[in-house]
Amino acid sequence: MLETEFLGLKMKNPLFLASGIQGVTKANLEEVCKFAGAVICKSLTLETRKGHETPIMVETNCGFLNAVGYSNPGIDAGLEEFFGWKKKEPLILSITARTVTEYETLAEKISHKIKDGMRIDAFEVVLSCPHTPEYGLMAGQQTPETASEIVKAIKKHVSTLPLILKISPGIPGEVEVAKAVEHAGANAIDVGNTIGPGMVIDIERHARLPGFGMGGLSGPAMRPIAIRCVYDIYNAVKIPIIGCGGITYGKDAIEFMQAGASVVAIGTAVYYRGTNVFSKIAKEMEKWLHGHNYSSVKEIVGLAHK
């Protein structure tokens, strides 16, 4: 009932592990595959990054602010880490960079590894982090011009691998960005990243949280914004959409799919309900589908548009 296909990849359920949630090691992603339909690794950059100072996460009402700051061992160590993927669940490689040139270098490295026999099922290009200087929103990458330039540059080197473009919902012009990257050759849109940035002040210490001083908002608090964004982008493009933002229960995933998402990604709910949250949500979705006489989850994609 939950089996589906996304970019030609077979999945046991439409539930992705969102990038940045665990996903530092291959062994950890394999563990998550016990529950999730597909996994996205933590984003890799050209060079090693320690990330922002801790605390990197702070809980707020119905969500979290996080400012991890792209801690990662760099593309070379990262590709080595995830080499030899054998699970039937798809592995999506997530990358991000400061400039078009850096994106091209990443794409070349990925292309070489694929020629060396590395299995990567798709890759995600993140233009939308709201809290890391020189990257994503702070570098103004989420515009139709820059986004399509980046997609074209990457596609020159890695044309066969499906490219997912990840945006942050609630930014003016998001629909134009989606249209532009579809035109530039992107194969799917991930809606999306955290939103913001936001800030929490610890009133006992008169100090800002998280450690970076601000962070991206995730969790149920942002869900209506992501739903609206998925709905609008579904109207504007033909490529499939990953819906993401505050999915905690099965009904939330169904809401995203009715808005137009083919599949969904889950992050913060791993905190609320544990690493096996994917199985819990899958069961809740099956129950809903069964109760409403649907035989496949594919039937509900875009229902809210009919």
């Binding site: 320690k50 100072e53 801790t54 149920p220 905190y271």
Partner: protein
Amino acid sequence: MEITPKNQSFQMQTYKVAKIIDENYRIKTFELGASFKGKPGQYIMIWIPGVGERPMSLGSSSPISVTIANVGRFSNAIHQLKEEDLISFRGPLGKAFSISKLKTGNQILLVGGGYGVVPLAYLAREAKKKGIGSTAIIGARKKDDVIYTNNFGGAKIIITTDDGSEGIKGNVIDAVNKIFGEGEKFDAVYSCGPEKMMHRLAEICIERKIYCELNIERYMKCGINICGACAIDGKICCRDGPIFTAKEALRFKDFGKCCRDASGKKVELH
């Protein structure tokens, strides 16, 4: 359905430092003016605004206390605190040592190296409340590094030092082999210390079929199962651990061999 804030232990809490105890030339204990329901082996994430947040193993929960060596930027910042200053933290976090299956009259062996003695001393005191007897083997480089011996609730204590300046000259594994060689029987073994030492101890306990738990350290950031920085093989140390059984630990390819730094890069253990 209520989903937030779900658990007070995940929220930042702030209390005054009630008492500071100098343990030795570089180690201090900080007692807070508050108590909570923490257990031995659990940790708190201490936050110093403008400096950062780091995990610290609990030395007791009533009052809340941590014992910290001045070895880096963060611990040095804590060492500057005075009584009545504020400490902020999230916790208690992580899994505790388990003594629930043990009974009155049982005997446990505690094996600690360096400031790994802190959670073990706390465990010895909790075990004593259940009528469980403890023997502690404490290793240190030299006499000045031996701390906490009065904190073990009256357990039998064996000290080893690398230079022989106190107790037996040698390491804790020598003392463990000796005590087992003499035919002493223990119902469970608990350890916290250098990972290569714990790896050897785990092997010894598996060979001897003795239940054993280890307090494993990894680079933790979020403390709540999300960021994945503290991954040890497929497990997430901050939430699945930091206490693991010897059997679990020996299945980890990384155990005793390598860990990850702040970026997630593999680093060999020495």
